[in-house]
Subunit: 257 residues, 2 copies
């Protein structure tokens, strides 16, 4: 169909990409607040008005960047999972622990969880302004369009995958204590919508933990840990491990010992 639909469309998509790249560069350099269409146009050597042929407004450009960023952080989460993303692939050189001899060696669920959390945090630290765009104050016109909900869930799905595998392997401690019926109904609806099956209490704590993970990262990134937590890596790793245990993950590697 649209194999070589013409030079025009090629140019259009190329220019669109160039605009996004330049915008992303400015975003990374100065933050979303300082991202200006005119500056982007200037850097690209075109009139500012020409830019509106590609993005009807500044917010639409932002939305495009948000979407890309959601995919990027989702990909980072997946890549960090040694069971799905390939540990040695694009992960930040982490040759310490396991596979010096190239042995696959099924990683423990808890280790996978910690790795995914670490991957998300690493991406956030590497792209603070893009992270802020996703998980900071919603921009101006707020309420993201429906199209962002799917990519926004990618990180969550990476976490769910770990817990789901652990559940399937029978290596999941169900959290104790009663679950209010309202919450149970809520998470059940969510699970059918996401097409997953997990005990309701697990899902409830999983959702909460998902939010808490980003609370941790946001506090670190937004300066709330300044003069409070200094050993950030160790603190994050420790807390992340605690979170995993809270979800019911255990330290044992594969199935039953």
């Amino acid at each position: 169909m649209t194999a070589i639909r013409g030079a025009r469309e090629r140019a259009r998509s190329e220019i669109t990409a160039a605009i996004k790249d330049e915008a992303r560069a400015q975003l990374a350099a100065e933050g979303a607040a300082k991202l200006s269409l005119r500056a982007v146009a200037r850097a690209l050597g075109m009139a500012s008005s020409a830019l509106y042929r590609y993005f009807p407004s500044r917010d639409d450009l932002l939305t495009a960047l948000i979407l890309d960023a959601y995919h990027a952080i989702g990909a980072a989460a997946e890549a960090a999972d040694p069971a799905t993303g390939g540990a040695g692939a694009s992960g930040p050189a982490e040759s310490g622990g396991t596979g010096a001899a190239g042995r696959p060696e099924t990683p423990g669920h808890l280790e996978r969880w910690v790795a995914v959390c670490g991957g998300v945090r690493a991406w956030a630290l590497a792209h603070p302004h893009e992270y802020a765009l996703l998980y900071g104050t919603p921009v101006p016109g707020y309420h993201a369009p429906q199209t962002t909900t799917a990519p926004a869930g990618r990180v969550a799905r990476a976490l769910i995958a770990v817990v789901g595998d652990a559940h399937a392997a029978g290596a999941l401690h169900e959290p104790p204590g009663p679950l209010p019926e309202e919450v149970a109904a809520d998470v059940r609806a969510l699970m059918t919508e996401l097409d997953i099956e997990l005990p309701a209490p697990v899902m409830a704590v999983l959702v909460a933990t998902w939010a808490q993970l980003f609370g941790l990262i946001s506090f670190e990134l937004f300066g709330q840990f300044h003069r409070v937590v200094e050993e950030r890596d160790a603190f994050f790793a420790h807390t992340t491990r605690r979170l995993a245990e809270g979800v019911g993950l255990t330290a044992e590697p594969g199935g039953a010992a």
Copy 2:
């Protein structure tokens, strides 16, 4: 000394307050991004340039608002604690539980924790834009001045107070598992700086839980729970209770049974 230092200073502080009030109103109405000095000046019937006699820049005005907001949310946290803030004082009418007969009846530490968390959340829901100013994306010139660190810790201190009381009453379960030495040293330094004494593992989980609490609130406020969690009140109450247990708080009211 400065009792009636002159009409000038009176006028100055009044005008300063008026500016802040108007700015706060605009902030609440449209968000920090749309807060404009000119609009504030317009609403106050003065030239925009006159405003710079009171706040040297827009960021300084924002900083003033941030400081006030930190105090406000801190006060909300303290007021929500039935043990310190007076349950029926300025708290959001909550006549259900305890003191119909005026009996003090020491509240359980876990209930206090949940109440404080609920108070913080209630304030956030009532002042979303101010909350975003505090815990959302840091503004533009970022790095808050040193003066904001003290009021920023008020909410944390309210939480610490509950845990501290529980610890003093011997009603605190220490969290299991080892604490990495780096983290232990970190939290010990923090405790000496804050002049509090708590077991290091407790303090570590307390700091993490503090961040996680705001992760929860931020996700709710910033729309991340849209189509994910609908029964927000119940979910928050439930999660908050779980957090309390994670810190080591127990359901028993006062001291040892």
